[in-house]
Structure formats: structure tokens, C-alpha cells
Symmetry: C2
Subunit: 113 residues, 2 copies
């Protein structure tokens, strides 16, 4: 996975563990794709400070993932969801009542997993 | 939920974010139900230090849950799992092939969600 995409996902999963300022800087860098110079202007801080925040938080986010593996779990759940839906589609069900129930089950899976 | 049970679950979910020593002390207190005096002997530290670790880590674990809501998510997923299995049992499916497939789907849900 591209590093920028990965960091954007990690920021989404673990952003609450950062301070507001750290989260804002990381968001501007990884999601809005702004340069250090642009972020330093918005955050009213030096380019070097922005660089340090990004470096430090990058390390923190990767460490959180090593410990809690939420991104890993997220991808596994997505696979489980896809596999479940594929298996349901593979059933040869007849009868309107059953078909309706199956559609409800599929919708429930799509909405809740 | 009883506080001790809740803290045991939080420790299971967020224990990796604590230091080894913090995790060990919390484990002895919340999972093995040892007294401060017993833990201080095992951990070779003062009773006061053990008390401070438990108090600080209790706060940390609750804060992690407020931010990441993994316990909340865990319970929701358990409900989703139960609801899915109930809904599958509610289907009136006939035919050996379909019944086998449904059993496989149920086993897959039980093992993976």
C-alpha cells in the first residue's frame, strides 16, 4: 500500500490519540496534501516544527498500529464481509419469503459489518 | 457492567499501549484479583507505587476507550453476530446443498466475526 494512503488510514483510526494540533497538521499533510510551507503558514508555526510534528506522529501512528492492529483488523473484516456476501449469493434459494429475508440479511451485513 | 470486569476487558484491548510493568500490575490486580500487598511483593516495589500504577493505568485505559471505543465496537460486533445467526436460523431453507452451504456460512460467521 502507498505510504501516504496507509498514513491517511492510520490517522483516521488513531487520530484521537494525537493532540488537536498534531492531528490538524497530519490531516493537512496526508489528507489535504499541503506542503510543509503551506502548513506552517496555516498552523502559524515554523516549517521545522511542522516537519518535526509529522515525523514524530508518523512514528506514533505506526507504533499504534503495531500494538493494536486496527488497520489490519479493518481489512480482515472487509474480507469477511465480502466473503459472506459472496457465499449468500451462491445459495440457490427459492420462495419469496426466503428471498426477502436473505436480502434483509445482506443489507444488514452491508450496513453493520 | 461491573467495574472490575470492564477494566479487565479494557486491559485486554489496550494493554499493549501500557509498559510491561504497568500491564503486569494491572493483570495481577484485575485478572488475578491479588491485593496491593501481594502485588507489591511480586513486583518488588512499594504498596504505594502499585497503588499509583493502578490508579494511573485505570485512568489511561478509560481515556483510550473514550477515544477509540474498541470495547463499544466489540459489543456491537457481538450483537451483529448474534443477529446474523438468528436471522439465518429463521430462514426456511430446503435442499441438502443449500443447508450445507448455510451451515458453512454460520460456521464462518462464528469463526470470523
Amino acid at each position: 500500500m502507498e505510504e501516504r494512503v496507509k498514513l491517511s488510514i492510520l490517522l483516521d483510526l488513531y487520530g484521537e490519540l494525537l493532540t488537536e494540533k498534531q492531528k490538524d497538521v497530519m490531516d493537512l499533510y496526508y489528507n489535504d496534501d499541503l506542503s510543509l510551507a503551506e502548513i506552517s503558514e496555516i498552523a502559524n508555526t515554523s516549517r521545522q516544527a511542522v516537519h518535526d510534528i509529522i515525523k514524530r506522529c508518523h512514528k506514533l501512528l505506526v507504533e499504534y498500529e503495531e500494538k493494536l492492529k486496527l488497520m489490519d483488523t479493518k481489512f480482515k473484516i472487509q474480507q469477511v464481509k465480502k466473503c459472506l456476501l459472496d457465499n449468500i449469493d451462491d445459495l440457490s434459494i427459492q420462495g419469496e419469503s426466503n428471498l426477502e429475508k436473505l436480502e434483509k440479511i445482506k443489507k444488514y451485513i452491508i450496513d453493520n459489518i
